[in-house]
Symmetry: C2
Subunit: 416 residues, 2 copies
């Protein structure tokens, strides 16, 4: 990795970086509300300008005028595959290794069950204690259902995963590529190899890395992966998720939600389930096409993006934010080394909730994760260096002035 | 049931019925393409005029301007519950017994597993041989996974279900309220009681009855039900499905796709899964809100509909179509008695595929289900009696003239 450029120390230096930014023009392709600096694109990505038109076209022309004919004429039937093929390069996969559909939780469920079945002599799922709750809950759901067990080990503590694998009973490892709280980035290649060396398969959750940095599922030898499209990929709130199935598992992987979209010959309407070839067998039923239209427009934009440029800018933005936060005396939970972090910065503070609320009132949107984590996400396609400079200094002011202690900022409501 | 009015024999008689139709005005609330008579609302419902505006509002204001704040400010987090409550009266359920989310296949999977767990001494799922393939495939997926078994019995042959139940090993019965091919309507109350009398639970698939006729899940004692929103409910292609969980099972039912939206306290981000109270525990992950917005607008329309009026008109429309089809010598697969049929009419003809294609070319859209079924669905909110008269006579002409024998109508493409 080339060394990082020095962190800009002044707003002028930030403006110079913006002027030279090779991906600066993408900002114009997004809708960004007046007076807001949006540091929550790691939770819900901003709206691409092309989306409303594409969604309206699907609703008014394909649905309204085409009606049921659009299943053929507008390519609706193949959407899980065509969107999967469009998404594939963003995760280092071949086009036929990715399908789009269902939500992350359901896809995790399918991938975990399929992986357990591919490793029938073993009954343990190795997870991480700090994973996103759905990953832990779905694992509990799967292990309860199948009489399997769960073990937890922290991938950010050196040696813990290897130690857990050494017991020799792990069927599947489920890890997040980037930790949803701390922003820690895991060594996908190394951990995958360690799992394989111990006879385990790996399911990667790439929700917090896809669109934030180059992801190389095939190059790392991943077996399965799931991810959402509504964070860095700007696919819209709750937009359809995706599943990666390594080609070597296409003939043998069997997922349990055996619906007709995953059938080898769905239009035979046969009584017997015969799984389709390839990743298609991970499909179940019809997908919400109005939502898929939003993702389609977003992925068109992403097809023009060079993820190496995104990554380079992300590292500068996160460093910039971090350095100001540290100067203001805030504890940083995100690893410092470039190769060990994703595209968000996590701070810890007992007043985290109120600080996030006070910042939102100033137009700087981040989020809070219990018990004490402030998260700030950096989406390089629509954030300028000057935005991050301003946001970081707003944060420093809120903390240093004690502004956040106003009781109204402590009143609880969901922050997602 | 009041006796049906006589079938109108002329186009003028149909026009008179339209003039007196108490639900005629709803037609103006739908977009209907020029030159088309749409008899496929049982596959994909027509577009309500209110949908494009509501979808655009969600995309441009709630997502574009509100961004992540809309999870709170626009009620996104509660959408599965608020939409469920809005849908509940259409299926005879209490507001807290229905949640909207995921697809029909995933919801079937959850309901079947939950029902099997509530009946732990038994391992057989009783299904029907002619059910929609996904129902059969999902059952196969569940029984393969759990080492349970499947038995099939035809609910339209008197005594078959009772016979199958008498073996005393049936844990769960999965039936469609209306058969997707023949349009046969099943006796939900009687079959549910028979199942309960033999110690079995019942999962009803109401995909082909919801919005077509009054459905009374609670009154019939149903345990679980699943259904889609994109047919008679006009929720949009592949729109979110729903799950009904009878209140008496709220404390004990456990579904396996244990995601964070089904957690009792999701914003604690706790490591341990604790299911939410009520039907909420059937939720898994985030739902595609752009698609949910379409459904929301559609359900607003449906909140003003009297399903008894829908049903009364549906019976006249289907009778009218049937009588013309019979006069043209076509075999009718749909039961004749009003209490034994839903809102579509199925015909059987070896040239069914080509006949459907020839009719589509004339602007009459129905569909085909292998091997030989022509389906015509009647959505009383946007179909006039004169439309059905014209469509039926177009069908008669296509068949009697031999027009359908033109080889171009036999070239195969998907018909969904």
């Amino acid at each position: 990795m080339t060394p990082l450029p020095p962190t800009p120390a002044t707003r002028e230096a930030c403006a110079e970086l913006d002027a030279a930014d090779p991906i600066a023009a993408f900002r114009d392709e997004f809708v960004l509300p007046e007076g807001v600096i949006y540091l929550d694109g790691n939770s819900l990505g901003a709206l691409p300008r092309a989306v409303p038109g594409r969604v309206a076209d699907l609703v008014e022309r394909e649905w309204g005028q085409g009606l049921v004919r659009s299943w053929n004429d507008a390519g609706w039937w193949d959407k899980p595959r065509t969107l999967g093929a469009r998404l594939a390069p963003l995760v280092g996969a071949a086009p036929h290794e990715v399908v789009v559909g269902d939500g992350t939780s359901a896809n995790l469920f399918k991938a975990l069950v399929a992986a357990l079945r591919l490793n029938p002599g073993r009954r343990t799922v190795l997870g991480e204690p700090g994973n996103f709750p759905t990953d832990l809950y779905v694992t509990q759901g799967v292990t309860d259902l199948l009489g399997a067990g769960q073990r937890l080990a922290d991938p950010d503590e050196p040696g813990r995963i290897a130690e857990a694998l050494a017991a020799g009973d792990v069927a599947v490892v489920l890890l997040s590529h980037v930790d949803y709280r701390t922003g820690a980035l895991r060594d996908m290649a190394g951990l995958t190899k360690a799992a394989h060396d111990h006879g385990a398969l790996v399911v990667w959750d790439v929700c917090h890395s896809v669109g934030a940095l180059p992801v190389d599922l095939a190059g790392c030898g991943a077996d399965f992966a799931v991810g959402c499209t509504y964070k860095y990929l700007n696919g819209g709130p709750g937009g359809p998720a995706f599943t990666y199935v390594a080609e070597r598992h296409h003939a043998s992987a069997r997922q349990p939600i055996a619906g007709w979209h995953g059938h080898a010959r769905p239009f035979d309407f046969a009584g017997e389930y015969v799984p389709a070839a390839g990743a298609d067998r991970f499909l179940s039923g019809s997908q919400p096409l109005v939502a898929a239209a939003a993702l389609e427009a977003s992925l068109e934009l992403w097809s023009r993006v060079d993820l190496r440029q995104v990554r380079a800018k992300s590292l500068v933005l996160t460093d910039l934010f971090r350095s100001v936060a540290e100067s203001a005396g805030l504890a940083v939970a995100t690893p410092r080394a470039a190769e060990r972090r994703g595209s968000h910065v996590a701070l810890r503070h007992p007043g985290g909730y109120a600080i996030v609320r006070a910042l939102i009132e100033r137009g700087v949107i981040g989020d809070f994760r219990a018990p004490d984590v402030l998260r700030f996400g950096f989406a390089p396609l629509y954030l300028r260096h000057v935005d991050v400079f301003d946001a970081a200094h707003a944060l420093a002011e809120v903390v240093e002035s004690g502004e956040w202690r106003d009781p109204r900022f402590s009143e609880r409501a969901h922050v997602t």
